[in-house]
């Protein structure tokens, strides 16, 4: 046995994800990503407000969609990220997966709250009500509660390593709600309109509306990635200061 085989070379995945390396490679990404996100948002907002038609039934309120749909998409996408990170925590014992999980939860809760809020602002002029106990709204509200529960659980633990594993279990269980949200409009035929982008027959909207929608969805997704990177970095730094202050306390004692 040589020394070499005793310490196997880390593959690219573990190298990429080592907290120290992560801090190194993510740092130069932040500014370009921020600038790019801003540009995409500028283009998306210009399209959404000036270069897309008003709906023949809803009029200008259709423009709420360019905020509502990206937020609703992210409310589920962020949960997907947390789901994968939870698997990373439980299966691969990945140190960065813990951080990714923790950083995603408040972001997901915010996007879900914005989706609910923009949805109810849109519902008032078009359906005549801020809120209706319809399948998709109820399941999205449940998702919001799940996010809040997960955040509360994170805060209840002192030991963050243990918290990560416990929260991961809860995240996996809570994922049951995601397919319910997706299919709620098909299972319960109620107020919320059915799927109109991912349908077997292709999108049901004209390109003039789809273009700004996709640009805004891209912009919001980039925004999430940017914020996620930043808050992961913050979390890593926070853990470092924690362990440093613990060491300092141990030394002075």
């Amino acid at each position: 046995m040589t020394l070499d085989s005793a310490a196997p070379k880390a593959n690219w995945f573990s190298r990429l994800a080592h907290p120290g390396n992560f801090m190194a490679w993510s740092r130069p990404l932040l500014w370009p990503l921020g600038v790019f996100t801003t540009l995409v948002f500028a283009a998306g907002l210009w399209f959404a407000f000036y270069n897309s038609p008003a709906d023949y039934q809803m009029g200008d309120t259709v423009r709420i969609m360019y905020i509502h749909v990206p937020n609703a998409w992210l409310s589920q996408f962020v949960y997907g990220v947390m789901f994968v990170a939870a698997l990373g925590t439980l299966v691969w014992r990945h140190p960065l997966a813990d951080v990714a999980q923790k950083a995603a939860a408040p972001l997901g809760a915010t996007f879900t709250a914005l989706a609910l809020y923009s949805g109810s602002l849109w519902g008032r002029p078009t359906w005549g009500t801020f809120w209706e106990w319809d399948g998709r709204m109820t399941s999205t509200l449940v998702l919001f509660f799940i996010y809040l529960g997960i955040i509360a659980l994170w805060r209840a633990f002192d030991d963050q390593l243990r918290a990560a594993r416990i929260v991961a279990v809860v995240t996996l269980v809570g994922a049951l709600d995601i397919p319910v949200i997706k299919f709620s409009v098909d299972w319960w035929n109620t107020l919320h309109q059915p799927a109109s982008i991912l349908t077997p027959a292709g999108p049901t909207m004209p390109a003039s509306i789809l273009t700004p929608l996709f640009i805004m969805m891209l912009g919001f997704t980039l925004l999430f990635l940017l914020l996620h990177l930043i808050s992961m970095r913050t979390e890593i730094l926070r853990r470092r200061t924690d362990s440093l202050s613990r060491q300092a306390a141990a030394r002075s004692a």
């Binding site: 109820t138 449940v142 997960i150 209840a156 243990r162 594993r165 416990i166 809860v170 269980v173």
Partner: protein
Amino acid sequence: MSAVAAILGRELRLAGRTGADALTLVLFFVMVGAVMPFAIGPDRQLLGKLAPGIVWIAAFLSMLLGLDRLFRADEDDGTLLLFRQASIPLEAVVFAKMLAQWLLTALPVLIASPLLAILLSMDMASWGKTLLALLLGTPALTAFGTIGAAVTVGLKRGGLLGPVLMLPLSIPVLIFGVGVLTVMDGSTAPLLFVAALSLVSVAFCPFAAALALRVGSE
């Protein structure tokens, strides 16, 4: 199998000796129901209409109340550690404890439900339906609650957190459980849905709860 029966017997004996747990639960259940007429007014017609929902809420709350006792005492005196090292899988232990929990928290509530039915001026038919729906739905509530209790067992101040985590997941049970009453044409779909939710969650929860117990204590 005999080990599962032994754990079940132990739980029931423990509850029987310390006594008042089930009685307090029933008292709470009846009181929640009895407070409602003061909150919404003693109009018999309105009460009768709302009664199934009130019974569900009361049952739901009293079952959440009893959750904390599920793993807490075993964690405190080290029994849980022995369970984890036992020769039978932890999932089986959790299943036995879940069964005991249902017998100790859901069954008393079901037995006490006629009392609430009279207080809330329910008619016989809707009481029967509510009882059936509760019978089919409470296993799912216990199962989700077991996960909540397992997740928060290591927390000193986790008493309220387990219910908060598991409440959102229990909403479907409530929706279909109350739906049994409101369905028009006597279709059995909501009832079947409640039964399906219970079967799936009872099959799935011991694994999730055992996983939480395992990863939480290493």
